[in-house]
């Protein structure tokens, strides 16, 4: 399968607002939100980007959509270098790559009816007006809001969170994109409606053959929606493999802790202490070597001196740890 997306050594470094003491000392701290990522995504693949807040997963998603420029490395989309994409080519790319947002309550213009919100991408793409009604109807069917007349005239504040997120998804699908990024699409929704959105996303991937990146901190959700899981830690990918493999046979010590920490609705679950120390914080991230070593219970000298590279454990399952 030809890769739809090929990211090579992608970096995104942000300058950090300096403290007064740092200004005096002439230091210029930077936030290495994404720090050298290689990621290849095949056409039709569903990939979960998993990690704690601050691991760079959202920035990675924005980089893949060219919503922010990388400070290093290249991203190819269907063979085209996104750094070079401009003008009409950028417009074409925008039609093919869509985003579903974390906060559905803010993702729709409050002054637009649902009708206008859904039509916006079609107008921008210059789709002939005769096709609009059909396309919008199809998208609304896909997200299981078939009763379109009940929605078109309404404003966002008249819909519930679950309905809003479906409309947001429909807007993303109305141009029949090839690539979809969903950034924590259910984390702001009530539990009872989450399942509905997740099921719709699963169906959409299956019926449209869509390539999708699903950004989440929730292991169980990623496993439910995505065939492949990529685990990030402080701007780096530390593990990458089929979701079932990663959950059942996690290789990296960080992934192991994550799997064990996932809350499950079972009274008889394991309550053993997690094999991890401290908390994730950019300020304390060690430079050079393995970034996880301060929290890793198995760290040894080599972890401080040499950065572990991704290596294949079994075909399709890679992790970056010296212990492997």
């Amino acid at each position: 399968m030809a890769p739809l997306i090929a990211a090579r050594g992608v970096e995104k470094h942000f300058p950090v607002t300096r403290k007064f003491s740092e200004v005096l000392r002439g230091e210029r701290p930077i936030n290495r939100a994404v720090d050298g990522i290689d990621l290849t995504i095949g056409e039709g693949e569903t990939v979960g980007l998993l990690g704690e807040s601050g691991c760079g997963k959202t920035t990675t998603g924005r980089l893949l959509l060219k919503l922010t420029q990388p400070t290093g490395g290249t991203i190819q989309f269907a063979g085209e270098d996104l750094n070079q994409v401009k003008g009409p080519a950028l417009k074409r790319f925008r039609q093919q790559a869509q985003l579903v947002f974390q906060n559905p309550f803010d993702a729709l213009n409050p002054r637009f009816t649902i009708f206008r919100a859904l039509r916006e991408p079609l107008l921008n793409a210059g789709i002939p007006e005769t096709e609009h009604a059909d396309r919008m109807w199809t998208a609304m069917r896909r997200v299981r809001l078939p009763d379109v007349d009940a929605y078109y005239d309404r404003y966002p504040h008249q819909l519930s969170g679950g309905q809003l997120q479906r409309v947001v998804l429909a807007r993303a699908l109305v141009l029949e994109p090839r690539f979809l990024v969903a950034d924590e699409p259910v984390s702001m929704l009530d539990v009872s409606v989450r399942a509905g959105i997740l099921n719709v996303m699963r169906d959409v991937h299956a019926t449209m053959g869509l390539t999708a990146v699903y950004i989440s901190h929730d292991f169980a959700l990623v496993r439910y929606v995505c065939a492949r899981t990529v685990v990030m830690y402080l701007g780096k990918i530390v593990e990458d493999g089929p979701s079932a493999e990663v959950v059942e046979r996690p290789q990296h010590p960080y992934t192991k802790a994550l799997v064990q920490a996932v809350p499950v609705p079972d009274v008889n679950q394991s309550r053993a202490p997690l094999p991890i120390k401290g908390s994730l914080s950019q300020a304390q991230a060690p430079q050079g070597g393995c970034r996880f070593r301060d929290r890793c219970p198995y760290a040894f000298e080599r972890c401080a001196s040499e950065e572990p590279l991704m290596r294949e454990i079994v075909p399709g399952h890679k992790a970056a740890c010296h212990l492997l």
């Binding site: 807040s53 539990v191 009872s192 409606v193 309550r271």
Partner: protein, 334 residues
């Protein structure tokens, strides 16, 4: 022996469109030394309930009926001044975001000491000793007492909020989504610390959350709320293993499982009812796949069921059969 007995509590909010009945006759007990998880989706009344017990309600809210018996005293009948005197000392609060309970312009240590001195009547030296002791307890380095809240990470702030809540050894702690804002690993670590302290100190806790996993992990008993009412309550192990209310059954299946295939998730279609004109019969009827005509006519009482829990469903007698059906996603699709 119950530390707190909530009896037929009713809380109303004045809104532009009318009176919203946020809590509509909720009753449950908090046994001494146990953690009671109150679970439900947003707008179910769980946070209103917590605020009512704390006696910190917005001006538009009022207790419209019922009792809150704490140590034999009805908190509803107390004056705001008497209630305030009990806050921190008898009943303490851990908010979702510790930023709300920590003042950004004072050092964390100063804030804890202030509670100990003002509310606990300690002198400065012993307040300082106690603050160090508290930080030890919640797993924070005592050196960080001199830091300001913004220098803490989210997990540390939440630990500091726990230390503050436990400062005066309260009998009851109300924790409103104490770990929701945290990452899973930190969530688990904070929860472990809290649970460990709870059992060591014999604390009674009301743990308010939307996350049934947190309830499963940390609570002894569970109270499921829906549209301002308690619809199921009992020992956590029993309620989660054998739910008798269709809403609980659905909620349990609404989370994907980490291990195993798990099948398709159950979506509970629809939205909770409007609480300005709440239905007089079963509030879940409109979203329930097992709804019958009588469900729309009769209000289901919260009654004991076979397992020893309480459930408010007219069809709780058929729960064993319904539970199997509720496991199928197709049951919930309409």
């Amino acid at each position: 022996m119950s530390v707190l007995s909530v009896q037929d509590l009713k809380v109303h909010y004045r809104t532009d469109r009318g009176v919203a009945q946020a809590v509509r006759g909720a009753s449950f007990e908090v046994p001494e030394g146990q953690v009671v998880g109150v679970v439900g989706e947003s707008g179910c009344g769980k946070t209103t309930l917590a605020r009512a017990i704390m006696g910190v309600m917005p001006k538009t809210a009022s207790i419209a009926g019922g009792k809150l018996l704490f140590d034999g005293v009805d908190l509803v009948s107390l004056s705001p001044k008497d209630l305030a005197a009990r806050r921190w000392r008898d009943i303490a609060f851990i908010p979702q975001s510790a930023m709300n309970s920590l003042d950004p312009v004072y050092r964390v240590g100063t804030q804890i000491a202030e509670i100990l001195i003002e509310r606990g009547g300690m002198d400065k030296a012993s307040a300082k000793r106690r603050a160090v002791e508290l930080f030890d307890m919640v797993g924070l380095d005592a050196g960080r007492l001199r830091d300001f809240p913004h220098q803490y990470s989210g997990g540390m702030r939440q630990r500091a909020a726990i230390a503050m809540a436990l400062a005066l050894e309260p009998k009851l702690v109300i924790a409103d989504e104490p770990v929701t804002a945290l990452d899973v690993i930190i969530q688990r670590q904070v929860l472990d610390t809290f649970k460990d302290l709870q059992s060591r100190l014999g604390l009674s806790v009301i743990l308010i959350t939307h996350d049934i996993s947190v309830v499963a992990y940390a609570s002894d008993r569970v109270v499921v709320m829906y549209a301002g009412e308690v619809i199921e309550a009992g020992a956590t192990a029993e309620v989660l293993k054998r739910p008798f209310h269709p809403y609980t059954m659905g909620l349990y299946k609404a989370f994907p499982e980490l291990h195993g295939d798990g099948g398709t998730l159950v979506p509970i279609e629809g939205t909770p009812p409007n609480l300005i004109h709440p239905p007089s019969a079963c509030a879940f009827a409109d979203r329930c796949p097992f709804v019958e005509q009588r469900c729309r006519e009769v209000h289901p009482p919260l009654e004991p069921v076979e397992s020893g829990s309480l459930a408010a469903c007219l069809r709780s007698g058929e729960a064993d059969r319904l539970r199997v059906l509720a496991g199928e996603a197709s049951t919930w699709l309409r």
